[in-house]
């Protein structure tokens, strides 16, 4: 459902929007509104175990591809949000578990392909 009262939007519907602190009160409501409007949400939390409810809830309500939960343990660490914003980590997950290094992911992908 497009956002009422807006003839056009700057960020196209269907795009991924990152919401940090997505398991909190404000973050979870923002995610819900984004999903309702037709965006996809990539949420971050310090602990994906305790935040699991958010993924279950939003995927149940808006579909499996609508929402994903990523762990950012320390948001003050250098480059804490880089892989989350870039989105390449998702590719790594789909092949063989989590890797945070873009180089490692690229190598894995090429290697797998050559095989």
């Amino acid at each position: 459902m497009p956002i009422p009262g807006l003839a056009s939007v700057a960020v196209p519907y269907g795009s991924v929007v990152v919401v940090s602190g997505v398991t909190g009160f404000i973050g979870s409501h923002i995610a819900d509104q984004l999903l309702l409007a037709g965006y996809k949400v990539r949420g971050t939390t310090r602990n994906v175990q305790t935040g699991k409810w958010a993924e279950e809830h939003f995927r149940g309500k808006y579909g499996h591809d609508s929402f994903e939960l990523k762990q950012v343990i320390d948001m003050a660490a250098d480059g804490a949000f880089d892989t989350v914003v870039d989105g390449k980590h998702v590719f790594a997950c789909s092949l063989r578990g989590f890797s945070s290094s873009p180089e490692a992911i690229r190598r894995q992908g090429l290697h797998t392909r050559r095989k």
């Binding site: 929007v17 997505v22 948001m75 003050a76 880089d82 914003v85 590719f91």
Partner: protein, 140 residues
């Protein structure tokens, strides 16, 4: 045998995976941190979110700030808030002995917001940045 197919699909899919917007809400609400630590985490976290967004060409960045970044509530007392008003009271109190959690929170919101605006001045880009604030009721 299916791996090349998986790879191809993933690669095509990957193009859509980069985010287009970032709404930075995360904040340490545990009230366990010292004022310096709370402020450092808030500022560094916000700048990490902001720089990642600029680096990967996002269109919009929003920091969910707070009315407490602008001012302390002053019920019944008329006062003026402008775009340049910050909660200097809280910043000052945060650096005195034993500040309460609310004061530390307010000071960290002030510091993070100021850091975001300074960064946008120093690093012009086409990404539109805003710091929204939420209030539980109108000021008047």
């Amino acid at each position: 045998m299916f791996l090349p197919v998986l790879y191809g699909a993933s690669r095509a899919h990957r193009k859509q995976l980069g985010a287009k917007g970032f709404i930075h809400v995360a904040n340490d609400m545990s009230k366990k941190a010292s004022p310096d630590e709370a402020i450092r985490t808030a500022v560094q976290g916000a700048l990490n979110a902001l720089t990642a967004s600029a680096k990967f060409g996002l269109i919009r960045f929003v920091y969910t700030s707070s009315s407490f970044a602008a001012t302390q509530p002053k019920p019944g007392k008329p006062f003026t808030v402008t775009a340049k008003t910050y909660n200097e009271e809280a910043v000052e109190r945060a650096h005195q002995p034993d500040p309460d959690g609310e004061t530390i929170y307010s000071a960290s919101k002030v510091a993070a917001e100021q850091a975001i605006w300074k960064w946008t001045e120093d690093n012009p880009s086409s990404m539109v940045v805003n710091t929204g604030m939420l209030r539980w009721r109108p000021v008047f």
